[in-house]
Amino acid sequence: MNNTDSLQGFSEPLAKAIAFIWQEAELLDRKDYASWSALWSEDGHYVVPIDPDATDFAAQLNYAYDDARMRKLRIERLTSGFAMSAADASATVRTVSRFVPVHLSAGLVEVNSAQILVGYKRQAHTMFVANLTHRIRFGAEGAKLEQKVVRLINSTDALNALGFLL
């Protein structure tokens, strides 16, 4: 049984989106950033905002506001072996659930979800809890991520520095 099979009862666009989001989560926990990079459309943005209500991300300071160029640089940094925070990054396990469709059509799906991520490093577990919004385009090239927004519930307080992706 694969993920999509287990999602009988969901509408097809939502089931495909959920399967995609789970695949993405699994790649990130394995730190397979090359494969993760291939999930993105060229003009997609990966955003970790600070302001919980932010919608115009370019006009505000974010934790991350990555276009294709910055994603590429970030992945190079995380995989270079020379960034000590990444070379010694936490092991992570994340679950994504509580899916709520925002927009559903055959070509474009936008889904809100909840992510509970636990990182482990140097005898300590650290939680990163966030509301996610994925915007996924389904086209001739398959599913491509157009935008992922990670709204940490503690975004306006002090976070632990991290050497992995949310």
């Binding site: 300071l61 974010n62 940094r77 020379f82 000590m84 925070s85 010694d88 976070l159 632990n160 991290l162």
Partner: protein, 428 residues
Amino acid sequence: MNAPLRFHPRTSDTSYAELVQGAVVDPSLYTDPQIFEVEMDKIFYKTWVWVAHESELRNPGDFKTAQIGRQPVIVVRDRGGKVNVLENRCRHRGATVCEKHKGNATGFTCPYHSWSYGLDGKLRGLPYPEGYEDVIEKADLPLQSLRVGIYGGMIFASFNADIEPLEDFLGNARHWIDLFMKQGAGFPIKTQGEHKFSFKGNWKIQLENTTDGYHFPVVHKTFLQSVDAETSEMLSFMTDDQSITRSLGNGHSVMVMVPEHVDLDVDDGSEQLQERFSHIVAELSKDMPPEQVRRIVRSLHGAGFNLNLFPNVAMSMSFFRVLHPVSVAETQIRHIALGMDGGPEIANRERMRIHEHFQGPFGFGSPDDAEAWERVQSGAYAGRDVPILVNRGLNREWQDDNGDKVSHSTDETGMREAYAMWKKMMEQ
């Protein structure tokens, strides 16, 4: 012949001040919880501590909350335009009267029994006052006020009513604050958001870092690889003899990384504007003269130096770095992004993108700093009779006419200045 390394390990008779021995420091400064408690009293509750920038409090009623050591405070502009720093503690039973990070208020009301205070801290009212007739006078029970000093828009506060004037405390650092503010390129400086993160380590490990040029190419190798060649070249100060660090007295110091950007008003025209900013040059040139465009674009990376003000704030190239000691082995850091107040939006947005690139828990720089600092904290528990060394560059340090000690930017002159002030304050 090399001078022998002199260090007297801590014994039961060693005073705290004796733990700083010139250019070597006892590792228990990072690890001893009792030292942390004394630091709260003798440093954080005695000296000027940075709490806000004036652009965060534009209008009457604008406030932000802050911490000085363990004590929560409210920084607020009152109806008369004066900035007050008030203890965030109800005079009745001690609850905080405000838990928001920032906002605008007409006053502060305690959630516990509804005692309400004005923006100047005065106790305005309390419910069912009959029980207090002939017991208290409201005038005797304001939110406690701290001393406030402002220089160059930087707001400092102190619990010490007898403290020296802020201008005297800043001393030779004032000149560098003035230079730092020139990155507004004719506009006042404003804050535009902040990254907050914490690391498991002592606050002085971060304090040292702001004028530590030695770590930059090592710790930030992947950041330097991720920027364009021009930015990387701009930051290649390791072998530049114009790149110096300077002690400024009272624990303050400055490290110059980009000598040609120390005074952004000075421009001999030889500097090529970075190619990465060409879209900004094109946009600004539509309605600005070329000199102004050049002035703004030369300032996008901020001033060419890190100014470290003892004990808790740095004015670091294009941002403020504020440290908050949480416990002996935990520190919170804020990296506050800066922009031009009323300046062109495209340039302010570029400044935010530059800030995101290096700073904060997801940046290409800060996580590696935090990792190094946590490793210092872990390692400092080993070798209790082995000192921390801040002696780099002692062989080439010289004294300027105004008394500043000067050495290369990779030298530890700034750290020695900070520890000399630490020693002086812990002796009092």
